[in-house]
Amino acid sequence: MFAMLRRPTLKRPTNELVVALPPGNHSTAPKTAVPIGVSMKFQYGSGDTPLEGYKIKRGVGSGGFGEVYFAESDSGKEVALKRIQKNLEVEIRGVRHCLNLRHPNLVAIYDIKFDKLEQGWIVMEFIDGDSLRDRMNRFPQGMTSSETMQWFAQLAAGVAYLHDQGIVHRDLKPANVFIDGGLIKIGDYGLSKYISASRRGGQTESVGTFHYMAPEIGKGEYGKEIDIYSLGIILYELLTGNVPFDGESSQEIILKHLTADPDLSQVPQPFAYVIQKSLAKNPALRFSDCRDMLRALGWELDASGLAVKRRDGASIDLPPVLPPFRAEPAVNKKEMPVARPTGSFDATIAGGNTPPNTNPWRYRYGYAGDAQMENLYREPVARAVQQAIVETQTFYQSLPPGGRAIAIVITVIVLLSSAGVIAPLLFVLFGCYVCYYVVWYTMGGANAPYTPSSQPNSPMKARPQPIRAPQIQPATAAYQNARPVAAKSGLKPAPIPYRVALRNWQTEQRNKLNQRGFWTRSHETTRSWAFSGIVTSVIATGAGLLTVARNQGDSNALVSGIAWTGIMSLLMTWTVLYLTRKWESRSEDSIVQRFIQLSAGVVLGVASFSISEFLMVPWAEIASKPFVGIVNDGTLLSVSWQGFYGENSMPLLAGHIAYFGSLMWIVRWWRQSDILRKSRFSVWAVVWSVAMAGLVQGLFFFPGPWCFLLAGVTSFTLQMASPWMDPLTGE
């Protein structure tokens, strides 16, 4: 209710909205919105004396709850006068509660007065200075660590005092914070609690910016944690010049408050930790007290309640660049892979009638304790498996009881009948994974995204770095070495539905990709090729060793099969990577792409034939039984595909070409390698590829299990080697 409402010189669309509020508890409506472009009309002009003893000098601003004037008392005291135009009783009660608060970082309230017309006026300290909003606008790249702390420490001290008095501000934002010389003054505190007691009918209320609102406000929770959350947002904005969750519409912003993680890649420690903890979705995981927040930044409150640097200076030695700290905790990636559309948040956030928390996963996880996640979950494959399991569970739970029983029966039947195939396959896959994990770990995979220095060696390095270039603005001196963020726009398009949002985002990103130079692209392709080579050779070697160990010497035949698989999947991966890089900047017709893949498959078939001839792969020995059986029986195969197979059931050139051509035709491999695919690694993509290989095998009787293994390994390698951009963070 307070204070020098400044003209809202905001640098971005602020989503200052007027929303129709449903009946009920809409206490959350922030109070000080001054819609941009609307002229400021003041009832009183300079020289008027509506309130006895005070002469109005000029209007300062007007908010949702009244006009604010600069005035002088008869004796010359300069004050701000706020005329309460709405909810007089409620606001007066709130202000009365705060009348005797005294803290250097709060705008002082002197008195409450009534004029002859029974209008209520709040007499308060006039601050002739910028708001924090104005100040921030002068630092579009963010402030340095010390400048940030200069303001933030005082802000936290003021909020700590309010909390100590049992008052939650509820509407902390830079426009409500003023700078008086070097002193921070928090305004607009006060009425919060009392407003919630009012029950107003479906009237129109001016609602402020959503950028600083904690997610649980939509559920009607107003603990002091919402102030901690707002402080976290302000701290982020001070440092980076941007709010962490921005969007075109209010829904988009709210959705991001509910689901998205802040991008802390530009933020040095200990700020990154403090912001992450303050912005936990779950209020219980945030700092419980402003003092803890300050302490983590190396500051504390002295006996008089003012913020001072800690004497021991424990953590105040701020590292100038990004320290080894993971911005997005893996658990959130895993559990919240996408921002899901849910209902109308306008109504809920304003009215608080229908809690948006229908999906429990959204509130279950905060960031706080998750920074120490095990390496396993940072590893993309393990994470993907975990995600697949969760998805399967969700699917299972969505079935009706009868459906569940049927699913169980089918699963058991399939497992029993094909255990002989699945068990060794799982064993081989697990062996491959162990090999891969060892390589991933030794290459610094666990730390790769955290430490810029180790990035060049890590699998995650296959990130689309060059596309950042056109969008980032030069960083401030303090963060020069920090990793720049990609498209701040992140999930730019409309919030619902997710599928459409993803599509729009993909189109937008594709256009950006289109602008890249030839050299950048070829450089990236080469890097992916090199990486896929490493992965495939590691897997092949691992599988070979495993087979040798299992078969104790009698394994030469198998080794040649494995070598064939390794080489062919590598060639396939390279081919697809090449094609994808060519296609990534445009969305071509799927039919055309399939046809080009088919042609590539023909060439691959020729290569495959040559390689298997060179390696002298004894297909008859190493192929699985049914294949040999059919061939020996001379039934279907000999009739249908005589020209494809030689005497020893050796696939001839035509067989190879048929198999590779079909496999390349039937699976849309480029999608698995697309930089804009949905998730970094999808188990389902691997399963699908193997299944399609099975289909082809069923048609041409190409020797199994090698054809399955080939498809699986290719899919795995392809996804691992391809760069990926997270639709949520745009990285």
Partner: protein, 211 residues
């Protein structure tokens, strides 16, 4: 730096009687002293001190005189005055962006938003403040522009139109660039119109009073 000292001015023009500064109170923007006299005396704010611009700060009773000389403004020191760090001992011409310090603690910035007009803005830079409270003092040339652009003498960010103040003999006139539906004390008026103390001027986003 020394270029500021290059143009000393010999004899002071005869001083004219001092009148209390006019203050333009602009709603949603700020308050500006209109200094249209040839000489503007700057000094410490305390009861009874007759200066044109009073600063509540640690300076002399009369610290400096700003004099209009054609299109230029000169500052003549009456106590220790530095311009951009160099102490001056005689009147010097001020240029856009010059930092002037009066005594040890009070800092002023001279801003000349456009060379097309002889009007300049004098802003306080430190913790001291004007008495009465001002956003800045306007050292008036022949005309003064109020509007949303940064090259206006008074920047009014939310305005869509400009207001131009210009001299007509001893009278200040007001011209509004657009059809801003200007009213004076609630009555429609056609531009240009004279700027009279105590009248409230309102328009679309415009709302101001000369005190």
């Amino acid at each position: 730096m020394m270029s500021h000292l290059a143009r000393p001015v010999s004899t002071p023009t005869p001083s004219i009687p001092m009148v209390p500064p006019k203050i333009l109170w602009i709603d949603g923007v700020g308050s500006y002293a209109i200094c249209d006299q040839i000489e503007v005396a700057i000094g410490q704010a305390f009861p009874g001190n007759q200066v044109d611009l009073a600063i509540r700060g640690d300076i002399s009773r009369r610290a400096a005189i700003v004099r209009r000389h054609g299109e230029d403004h000169l500052i003549q020191p009456l106590q220790t005055v530095h311009v951009n760090g160099s102490e001056i001992d005689r009147a010097v011409v001020m240029h856009d962006g010059d930092l002037i310090s009066l005594g040890a603690r009070v800092g002023l910035r001279y801003v000349r938003p456009t060379q097309l007009s002889g009007t300049a803005r004098l802003e306080l830079t430190g913790n001291s403040r004007w008495q009465p409270l001002l956003s800045a003092a306007l050292l008036m040339g022949e005309s003064c522009v109020l509007g949303p652009e940064s090259n206006c003498h008074v920047i009014c960010p939310d305005w869509s139109s400009k207001v131009v103040l210009f001299r007509n003999g001893a009278q200040w006139m007001c011209r509004v660039s657009d059809q801003a539906n200007i009213q004076i004390d609630g009555k429609p008026v056609r531009a240009p119109f004279p700027l009279v103390r105590g009248q409230r001027i309102t328009g679309d986003e415009i709302s101001m009073t000369l005190e």
